[in-house]
């Protein structure tokens, strides 16, 4: 009985993870600091590239302003992260979560590249809302609690506040273009 309930719960969780398409859901074990640094850097890099794509493709004023905010902020956070890992002598370590994030991002990029005009704007901004939500959940529930170095934890905490701001901003832009 308990095994059956467990299996069902497990199946439900697996289904939710597949549905949400979240790379973070795959991490079972607690990530180490070198892995966390790699995940955070990868997540940042992905959103910066999405912003660069939007700046190439979109003509919508609000979407372009949001995209250039993303490029600027994620560049600033990544510079800070790189300076910190150098200072701490931490070598970011590739891991399945980073790999899955990169794979999903390149699929998304291919999908967005085929769209134009209002269809692109809507797909880009909807993805920005969903992406920031996923990243913020991961920061809050997995990455920040798992980080053992205090300076890394502090940078992730600042990052979370910045990205919560991005999520709200993306939601506002999304509401405006509907």
């Amino acid at each position: 009985m308990s095994i059956r309930i467990f299996t069902r719960t497990g199946a439900a969780i697996a289904a939710i993870c597949l549905f949400a398409g979240s790379g973070f859901a795959q991490t079972a074990a607690k990530p180490t600091d070198p892995q966390i640094a790699h995940i955070a850097y990868t997540a940042d890099q992905i959103d910066m590239q999405a912003g660069q794509l939007a700046l190439k493709k979109s003509k919508n004023k609000d979407v372009r302003a949001f995209a250039s905010d993303m490029v600027r902020d994620h560049t600033a956070v990544n510079q800070k992260a790189l300076a910190l890992v150098k200072k701490l002598k931490v070598k970011p370590e590739d891991n399945p979560t980073s790999q899955q994030l990169s794979k999903q991002a390149s699929d998304k990029r291919a999908e967005l590249s085929k769209l134009n005009g209002a269809a692109f704007d809507k797909a880009y901004i909807d993805n920005e809302v969903a992406y920031h939500k996923t990243v913020n959940d991961a920061l809050q529930n997995t990455l920040i609690p798992s980080a053992s170095n205090q300076e890394l934890k502090d940078l992730l905490t600042t990052g979370l506040k910045i990205f919560q701001g991005h999520q709200q901003h993306a939601e506002q832009v999304a509401a405006g273009i509907k």
Binding site: T158, I162, G165, Q168, H169, Q172
Partner: protein, 113 residues
């Protein structure tokens, strides 16, 4: 002796008061400092008078704005820099950061007497 001295200082009071007014002049406009740190305005709520200046000091790693909800002003503040505005009219102004709308602040501006 003691009495005389007391009378003297009493007589000097109006002179001293007049001198104080000349030195201080009319009520001066102030500069109110708000720090931007950890994606928040600190303090988030301030009181000021018309003619005062609000100066934001951005200590965060990303750029911020101080943008009035009524669109009367919009100031961009780069990381590790300061920027300011002068308050021109009385009223309560709600403001926020256009880049990070989770940052919100409020300024209560009184008319200058």
């Amino acid at each position: 002796m003691r009495r005389r001295r007391s009378r003297l200082s009493f007589g000097a009071l109006p002179v001293l008061a007049a001198f104080a007014i000349v030195v201080a002049g009319p009520v001066r406009a102030e500069v109110i400092h708000v720090t931007m740190e950890q994606i928040a305005y600190m303090p988030a709520q301030i009181s000021a008078s018309v003619g005062d200046t609000v100066e934001w000091d951005n200590k965060d790693i990303v750029a911020h704005t101080a943008t009035a909800r009524d669109k009367s002003w919009d100031v961009v503040i780069a990381p590790n820099s300061k920027n300011s505005i002068m308050l021109k009219s009385a009223g309560t102004i709600e403001y926020y950061c256009r880049f990070h709308p989770n940052m919100v602040g409020q300024i209560t501006v009184k008319a200058r007497e």
